[in-house]
C-alpha cells in the first residue's frame, strides 16, 4: 500500500492533470498472477525439487530448448522488430511501410481490413463502414502490386495476418514476387493461416472447420515443394489470450492447435521432418512478467517433447519452437494513454527474456484508434531501447535457474499436458471446437477477470485506481470513408477492364479443385493472375463448402 500511494503522490502529474488519491488497499489481499494463479512470497531450493536440471533446463540450444533455441541467445542475431501495420488504401500503407523500413524496422507485417479478412469485396453489404478501417484493403492482385511497390520482396521478410483467405493473399504475394523477379525458393515470410484459433477466439472464419483445414494442408504441401523457406502457419495464442484466456489456456490451446495441424499434415501424407520446421508460433506478451516468461519457456519444452514423443520428429528444426510475440492489446487503456508506453515496454521485455524470435510492440493510442505514425515510432523505439541499452540481449536466458521461474515453467507445462489430455479425450481440437469447449473456457476466464477488476482485486492503473479526473486528449489517426470510395472506384474499373472469360474459367477451376482433392493453391494462383477479387475467390469456395455459423451463446 505504501509503495502504491508513494508512487501516486510523488510521480509527476502528466500534462497538469489532477491525479486522485488511491483508495487504501491492504497489501494482504491478492497475490495471484493476472491469470489468477496463486504465487508464494518467496521461492527457494525446495521449489526445484523434482526438476531434473539436465533433463529440464540444460543449456540454451539443447533439447528440450526450455532455455532457448540458440546456444548464444541474441548474440548471433537480435529478434526481428516487426511492426504490424496497415490501413486505408494500398497506396497509404505502402508509404507507412517505407517509413518503417527507413526507421530501422527489419521486417514487414501486413494488417488487412475486415472485408479482406472475411473474403468480402468492398461493395458487399457487410463491408459497409469496414473498408480500410482495421487494416489495408486488398481486393485483387492490383492492390498487392501497389502495396509492395518499391519494396524488394527478395530482401525483406513479410508476415501476413490472414487466415480464412490465407492461400489467396499468399498467392497474390507470390505473383508479385515473381513480377519483381524474386525466386520463390529464396523468399521468406509468414502467413498466419491459423483457422483453429479463429473458431476458438477471433471468429474470422468463413468455411466449416474441416474444409478450412484442407486449405491449410494444401498450403503445407505446396510450400514444401515450391516455397521451401516460407513459414506456412503461425499458430496463434495471441487472439486466444486477447479473448480472455489465462496464460496456461493460451499455452495449452495454442500448442494443442499446433498438434492438430501436425496431425492433419501427417494424415495428408506429409513428412513431419519436412513440414513441421515451417510451423511457427505467435504468443501474447501480457502484463504478468514472470508468468509470461515461464509461458514461453514451457512452450518450447512442450513442443520439443510432443514432436519427439508423439510424432517421432528427428530433425532438430522440427523440435525447436520459434515464435513471434506481440504485446497485449487488451491491456492498453483509453484512460491516461501515455501509461501504455510503460505497459508495452514491460511486456516487450518479458517477450525478449522469454526468447522471442520477433516482436511487435503496440502503440500508446491503440485503445482509441489505429496508431498514428508518431505512436508507432515510439513503439519501435521501445524495442530498440531494450535491444541496445538494457543489456538483456547480451546473455542467453539470463533468468534460467531462478527458483520461481523454473517452478512456474514446470507447473505450466504440467497443466498444459492436462488440458491436452482433456482435448484428446474429446477426439482432438476440431472436435473440441465443434462442441464449444475452448470457447466456453475462455469466456469463463474473461468474465472471471472482469469481475476481479470490478471488485478491485486486480488494479488497472488509470482505470479502477489512480484515476485522473481530467485528461488531455492524445492525437489519433482518423480513417474516414475516402479509402472506401477509392477502393470501390478501383474495383469498378477492374471489373470493367479485366478478361472476364479468363476470370470465370479460373474461378471454375478453383471450384473443381475444392470439390475434388487437387491442391487448391494451383487454381488459386491462376485466379490471382486473372485478377479475380478476394471476394470472388472466396465465393467460389463458399459455393462448394458453404459457410460456418457459430451458435451464439453467453
Amino acid at each position: 500500500m505504501q509503495l502504491k500511494s508513494e508512487a501516486a503522490a510523488s510521480g509527476p502529474p502528466s500534462q497538469g492533470v489532477a491525479i486522485s488519491d488511491s483508495p487504501a488497499s491492504a497489501r494482504t489481499r491478492d497475490f495471484t498472477t493476472i491469470s489468477g494463479r496463486a504465487v508464494e512470497p518467496v521461492y527457494g531450493p525446495a521449489h526445484l525439487e523434482g526438476i531434473d536440471r539436465d533433463r529440464e533446463i540444460p543449456l540454451p540450444g539443447e533439447f528440450p530448448y526450455t532455455r532457448g533455441i540458440h546456444p548464444t541467445g541474441y548474440r548471433g542475431k537480435l529478434w526481428t522488430m516487426r511492426q504490424f501495420a496497415g490501413f486505408g488504401t494500398p497506396e497509404e500503407t505502402n508509404a507507412r511501410y517505407k517509413e518503417l523500413l527507413r526507421n530501422g524496422g527489419t521486417g514487414l507485417s501486413v494488417a488487412f481490413d475486415l472485408p479482406t479478412l472475411m473474403g468480402r469485396d468492398p461493395d458487399h453489404p457487410l463491408s459497409l463502414g469496414e473498408v480500410g478501417k482495421c487494416g489495408v484493403s486488398i481486393v485483387s492482385l492490383a492492390d498487392m502490386e501497389t502495396l509492395f511497390d518499391g519494396i524488394s520482396l527478395r530482401d525483406i521478410t513479410t508476415s501476413m495476418t490472414i487466415n480464412s483467405p490465407a492461400s489467396m493473399l499468399f498467392a497474390m504475394y507470390l505473383v508479385v514476387a515473381e513480377q519483381q523477379g524474386a525466386d520463390w525458393t529464396r523468399i521468406s515470410g509468414t502467413i498466419q493461416n491459423d483457422i483453429l484459433k479463429e473458431f476458438i477466439a477471433q471468429k474470422e472464419y468463413i468455411y466449416p472447420p474441416r474444409p478450412s483445414m484442407r486449405l491449410i494442408t494444401d498450403v503445407f504441401a505446396f510450400c514444401a515443394r515450391e516455397v521451401p523457406k516460407w513459414n506456412t502457419i503461425s499458430v496463434s495464442g495471441y487472439h486466444i489470450r486477447e479473448a480472455g484466456a489465462t496464460a496456461v489456456q493460451e499455452l495449452a490451446f495454442t500448442l494443442r492447435d499446433g498438434i492438430e495441424y501436425v496431425q492433419y499434415g501427417v494424415d495428408a501424407g506429409l513428412d513431419v521432418d519436412e513440414f513441421v520446421p515451417r510451423i511457427s508460433f505467435f504468443f501474447n506478451a501480457h502484463s504478468d512478467f514472470f508468468e509470461e516468461i515461464a509461458k514461453y519457456r514451457a512452450a518450447r519444452r512442450i513442443w520439443a517433447r510432443v514432436m519427439k514423443d508423439r510424432f517421432g520428429a528427428k530433425t532438430e528444426r522440427a523440435l525447436k519452437l520459434r515464435f513471434h510475440s506481440q504485446t497485449a492489446g487488451v491491456s492498453l487503456t483509453a484512460q491516461q494513454p501515455y501509461n501504455n508506453v510503460v505497459r508495452t515496454a514491460l511486456q516487450a521485455l518479458a517477450a525478449v527474456l522469454g526468447g522471442t524470435q520477433s516482436l511487435h510492440t503496440n502503440s500508446l493510442d491503440e485503445a482509441l484508434a489505429l496508431p498514428t505514425s508518431e505512436a508507432v515510432t515510439i513503439a519501435l523505439r521501445t524495442q530498440q531501447v531494450i535491444a541496445h541499452e538494457s543489456g538483456v540481449a547480451n546473455v542467453a536466458d539470463p533468468l534460467g535457474g531462478s527458483y520461481f521461474l523454473e517452478r512456474l515453467t514446470t507447473d505450466m507445462e504440467r497443466e498444459a499436458f492436462e488440458i491436452f489430455d482433456t482435448i484428446d479425450r474429446m477426439g482432438g481440437m476440431v472436435a473440441a471446437i465443434e462442441r464449444g469447449y475452448p470457447q466456453q473456457e475462455i469466456a469463463e476466464s474473461a468474465y472471471r477477470f472482469q469481475q476481479a477488476v470490478e471488485r478491485h482485486e486486480k488494479v488497472i492503473v488509470g482505470v479502477n485506481d489512480f484515476v485522473a479526473e481530467a485528461e488531455a486528449p492524445v492525437p489519433i489517426l482518423y480513417i474516414d470513408e475516402a479509402a472506401a470510395g477509392r477502393q470501390l472506384a478501383k474495383l469498378e474499373r477492374l471489373r470493367r477492364d479485366r478478361d472476364h472469360a479468363r476470370v470465370e474459367r479460373a474461378l471454375e477451376g478453383l471450384r473443381e479443385a475444392a470439390r475434388g482433392s487437387a491442391n487448391t493453391m494451383v487454381p488459386m494462383l491462376e485466379a490471382v493472375r486473372a485478377y479475380a477479387t478476394v471476394g470472388e475467390m472466396c465465393d467460389a469456395l463458399r459455393d462448394v463448402w458453404g459457410e460456418y455459423e457459430e451458435v451464439p451463446s453467453i
Binding site: A334, A367, A369, E481
Partner: protein, 134 residues
C-alpha cells in the same frame, strides 16, 4: 415487474466478441433478460431481433471503426419500426470526435475500453424507457 429485456449484438464483420459476451453476462447477472444475437448482424437483423424480442435496450459492440456507418443506419431503422423508446447503447473503440456525432443521432450510452460493468448496468437501469414515463 417485467425484467429489462436487452438485445446484444455485434454488427459488421468484426468477430472480437469478448466485450459483448462479458457485458451480456454482467447484464444477466444484474437481473436483466439478455438475448445475445451474436456475430455479423446487419442493422436490419439487429432491429428485427429487437422487435421480435420486444427489447427495451439494444446494445451494440463495435470495435472496428465502422460505427459511423452502422449506427446511423440502425437508428433510421429503429425510428421506422417505431422503437423510439428503445434505449440504444454502444460499446467499443469510439474516438472522441465521434461521440457527439453518435449522441446526436440518438445513441444514448457510449462506453469505451475500461468502462466498469457496474457503470453500464446502472446507466441502463436509470435510462431504460425514460420516454414512457416522461
Amino acid at each position: 415487474m417485467r425484467k429489462i429485456r436487452v438485445v446484444i449484438a455485434k454488427p459488421g464483420l468484426d468477430g472480437h466478441d469478448r466485450g459483448a459476451k462479458v457485458i451480456a453476462r454482467a447484464l444477466r447477472d444484474a437481473g436483466m433478460e439478455v438475448i445475445y444475437a451474436g456475430l455479423r448482424q446487419t442493422a436490419e437483423q439487429v432491429v428485427a431481433a429487437a422487435v421480435q424480442e420486444d427489447a427495451d435496450v439494444i446494445g451494440l459492440s463495435i470495435l472496428s471503426g465502422a460505427h459511423n456507418q452502422i449506427c446511423p443506419r440502425l437508428m433510421e431503422l429503429v425510428r421506422e419500426q417505431g422503437l423510439d423508446d428503445v434505449l440504444v447503447v454502444v460499446g467499443g473503440i469510439i474516438p472522441d470526435v465521434d461521440v457527439q456525432r453518435l449522441q446526436a443521432i440518438g445513441i444514448r450510452g457510449i462506453f469505451r475500453p475500461g468502462s466498469p460493468m457496474g457503470e453500464i448496468v446502472t446507466f441502463i437501469e436509470q435510462n431504460v424507457r425514460v420516454r414512457e414515463t416522461a
